[in-house]
């Protein structure tokens, strides 16, 4: 009983970590890239210059660390929880990334876009509740 409760807490904690760090990582990457400006590559030196700007940005490194945290949480939780149980959690990520974009980056989001995000979340949720294995195995 205690082991089951501990497993449940561990699962919720890692799903919380996934839905926090995934959208946060994307938001930080967005903020970092906006600080750098539009990419314009016409020759090889432009590419080298752009890559050096990207990889010396603290915000982008924070974004990459957040996405790494998301990936580690995802892999860990999949080692004991069912894919079909974990995957619908990613449906929330689309809503959270829109919220981060609105309140952290002050992006303008039209009502149609909010509706689109909600419908995408519903679609991902439905996909997540289908059976994870569809091919025959021995």
């Amino acid at each position: 009983m205690k082991a089951s409760s501990s497993l449940r807490s561990k699962t919720y904690l890692l799903i919380l970590s996934m839905v926090t760090f995934g959208p946060l990582g994307n938001t930080l990457l967005g903020k970092g890239m906006k600080q750098i400006g539009t990419i314009s590559i016409r020759a090889l030196p432009d590419l080298v210059h752009m890559v050096s700007k990207v990889f010396t940005s603290g915000t982008i490194w924070l974004g990459m660390i957040s996405l790494l945290m998301f990936f580690i949480s995802y892999m860990l939780v999949l080692s004991w929880a069912d894919y079909s149980y974990v995957q619908p959690a990613s449906a929330f990520a689309y809503g959270i990334v829109a919220l981060w974009g609105r309140f952290l980056l002050h992006e303008t989001i039209t009502p149609t876009r909010w509706l689109g995000v909600l419908v995408i979340g519903a679609g991902v949720f439905v996909v997540g509740y289908t059976h994870p294995r569809t091919t025959e195995h021995d």
């Binding site: 959208p23 994307n26 938001t27 990457l29 967005g30 903020k31 890239m33 906006k34 750098i36 400006g37 539009t38 990419i39 990207v54 982008i60 080692s79 004991w80 990520a93 689309y94 990334v97 829109a98 981060w100 974009g101 609105r102 980056l105 992006e107 303008t108 989001i109 039209t110 009502p111 149609t112 876009r113 909010w114 509706l115 689109g116 995000v117 909600l118 419908v119 995408i120 979340g121 519903a122 679609g123 991902v124 949720f125 439905v126 996909v127 997540g128 509740y129 289908t130 059976h131 569809t134 091919t135 195995h137």
Partner: protein, 125 residues
Amino acid sequence: MLWEVVLLFLIVIAGTSGELCMSRAMKTIGEVKDFRPMSLLRVIARAMQVGWMWIGFLLMIVAFLALLGALSIENVSFVVPVTAISYAAGALGGKIFLGERVSSQRWAGVALVCIGVTLVIIGRN
């Protein structure tokens, strides 16, 4: 506009192809049943010997660089939801390249994702 389309296309196609290649590599290895650290390291070492894993890894890097490019010109609240179209690409790719059976419920979910992505595109500022 053309760059945006090219970058979004790269995120979806390179990202989904990368995941499909990695999935194919993992299916070659077989189901992982032992999650002890040393066993997982052995699984990773075996995975690295499969060519599909390396192709998948390279494609994922291309998708990540395209994501950075797209985020430099568009809002994160536009780019991330639009890339959900990869659920449709994944379902099609899984069916065509991996021989997976995609249930009608999963197609319904994919259809909802496509409607949502269309709404996000229509709702651009």
